[in-house]
């Protein structure tokens, strides 16, 4: 949130300089922002983001109501930096046998993804749940879905819109590893997070 404040006071030139720095992706994001202005869905997304901000003490009225150029660009910058850290974060989340609860070590990475998805309401993510080959296929299909849902729920709790998330399950049908022992199975019990 400090970032936002700083950027607001920073002025055009600096913003542009940064934007120029991250070439290709910027173009896409700008387009998305334009679309957001027209879409009612995106508007609600933006206001809920604003209310999150108000919780942490930043003045929300300026952000949500004034559609000033600098604010948009400010958000842009935040998005970029958040996106960068989201992309750097792990996209594979592993589980125990017949379990669908998140492991503690997944949370930091999921937080990074959540922050980015909150900042960029246009971003979409697909969560693919998987199981290892042990147990029966239809049951594992359900287990894979539960794992994907566990990740989805966590992201939603962190402020991501459910509409940004698509979940699906492949059960045991798409193993990462073909090893028929715990080394392979533990890699296959996973959720893959894929940006669309």
């Amino acid at each position: 949130m400090d970032v936002l404040k700083t950027i607001k006071t920073a002025g055009y030139a600096a913003v542009l300089a940064v934007l120029a720095g991250c070439a290709g992706q910027v173009k896409e994001d700008v387009a998305v922002t334009d679309a957001a202005a027209q879409s009612p869905v995106e508007t609600t997304a933006a206001s809920s983001a604003a209310s999150t901000d108000s919780v942490s003490g930043t003045s929300s009225s300026q952000l949500s109501q004034s559609a000033s150029q600098s604010a948009v660009s400010g958000a842009e910058i935040t998005r970029e930096s958040l996106k960068a850290s989201a992309l750097a974060a792990d996209t594979l989340f592993f589980f125990e046998f017949d379990k669908s609860d998140l492991r503690q070590d997944a949370l930091d990475d999921l937080d990074a993804h959540a922050k980015y998805l909150v900042a960029d309401r246009a971003a979409r993510v697909r969560l693919e749940g998987h199981a290892d080959e042990r147990g029966t296929r239809a049951y594992n299909l359900a287990l894979g879905e539960r794992r994907a849902n566990a990740v989805a729920r966590y992201l939603v709790i962190q402020g991501v819109n459910r509409a940004q998330i698509e979940t699906m399950s492949y059960g045991e049908e798409r193993p990462l590893s073909l090893a028929r022992d715990e080394s392979g199975w533990s890699r296959n019990r996973r959720v893959e997070l894929i940006y669309q």
Binding site: S48, S51, T52, S54, V55, D101, L102, L107, D111, A114, N149, A150, R153, Y154, V156, I157, Q158, G159, R162
Partner: protein, 234 residues
Amino acid sequence: MVAASVSLSATLVSANSLPITDDARGELLLQIEQLRQETQSLRGLMEELSNQLRTMQADEKSRYLDLDRRLGELIQIQRDALTTQSGNSANTVVTAPQAENASTATEPPQLSAQEAYNLAFQMIRERQFEASLEAMASFILQYPDSELIHDARFWRGQVYDVLADDTKAIQEYEGLLAIKPDYRRLSQVQIKLGKLYLKTGRVEEGRQLLNALISADPESVEAGLARRELEASR
């Protein structure tokens, strides 16, 4: 429930008046998950316990019926025994195996072997199994010359069998066979012993004993029982 927790989280997100941090929400989600798992495992436990209860009740019933049958046998055998005794010895007073036995037995001084035996036996009939074991044991010590000590050992074996103390039952029966290889209820003892061997995992001994019974007299009732036990052990 999922729907519930999702809508719960939605409420949390929009409730901007509540100072709930992301961490707090995450913590809440985690707790809901934990509660669910707890509920599930409790449910599983409850299902298993009620199943155990059901099977135990069924077992109980069949065990009671079995006990009832055995006691019926006991009474019958005792009557037979008394009839035989009365025919054999003239000076033994034959009393009906009823309450008088117990009342006369309350005066300890000098009981005849038969009286002492009857007293101990009465305890079995009244299902005072622990007491009957002691009574039979002291009978054996007090009247070592009585022929009835073999019967006493036999009944001790039976009582241990009823109490499901397999080891002790086996000891009694084995002891009896060692001392009195021509005991009149030999085949009954062999059946019981064979059954107990099978039950306690001494499968070879059990089979040998039962097979010996069968080949000794293939047409006998005991041979039939032995066959049934062998069949059931498979």
